[in-house]
Symmetry: C2
Subunit: 151 residues, 2 copies
């Protein structure tokens, strides 16, 4: 079995977010690369193929140092921030979704606007999501595969 | 972490198949349900969205008791049998793909015919594959989620 690494504060938020999304019948992967040079904290896939991105910010500094988030908007139908209950949410742009999270659960406070992906991009992202999830899953089910193909 | 269950002979073949498919840049999930009442041993997704099904047969009896395989043909672009080196391959229908496998690797002996999925079904299957893989992955990454949502 692979070691379970110590999770960083943002990763703990992501865990709670991914758990909560299951209540909405969304499944999710973490640290997903939608396109070269981009990596989102959580990419979720809904029952009708909806694609959501959630960026998890563990502190004001973590949010303020993020210069890339606007580049994620075009890779999802909805974009959310996930922060803990102590985060100064007035810092966050109003025209985005908002999730309050801890390591164990989360709550969607604001859905934010929906901006539907074009069909071709949705197809590409769903396929990438599938391949990402299956590769990671295989690394857990068959640890021997990582020695052959990397993590 | 979840326990690693003892693998059955067919599951060991599936493991070798899934490893080998990575050499062809295909990722795979096991025990995938393409439609109600159907469950395939290996469902693989290629770099261009190709969908392959591989049924793993550990013995002649295992093959001869399978009355469902023809129902899988319409859920993939290519269909394969995976068997071990001792299997009497002359029993297998010629118009299918053939993979010789063990628990550690495999080799594709015959690709078999390609019968391309319609776009709508490919889209549906890719989305199901993605959701299957992400749910299973989450169960490994976050064992707590299984208590909430089941395996």
């Amino acid at each position: 079995m692979m070691d379970m690494p110590e999770l960083q504060p943002g990763q703990l938020l992501a865990r709670g977010v991914c758990r909560h999304l299951r209540h909405h019948d969304f499944v999710a992967v973490e640290e997903f690369v939608p396109d070269r040079g981009l990596r989102v904290d959580v990419m979720a896939l809904g029952p009708k193929g909806e694609i959501w991105v959630v960026e998890c910010k563990s502190s004001r500094a973590d949010f303020q140092s993020d210069s890339k988030w606007q580049g994620y908007l075009e890779w999802c139908d909805r974009y959310f921030w996930a922060v803990d209950a102590d985060f100064p949410t007035e810092l966050l742009p109003q025209e985005t979704g908002l999730i309050i999270a801890d390591a164990y659960d989360a709550e969607i406070l604001r859905l934010g606007p929906e901006s539907k992906l074009a069909a071709a991009r949705r197809k590409l992202l769903t396929q990438k999501f599938a391949r990402h999830a299956a590769r990671r899953l295989q690394a857990y089910r068959d640890p021997g595969v990582s020695a052959l193909f990397g993590p």
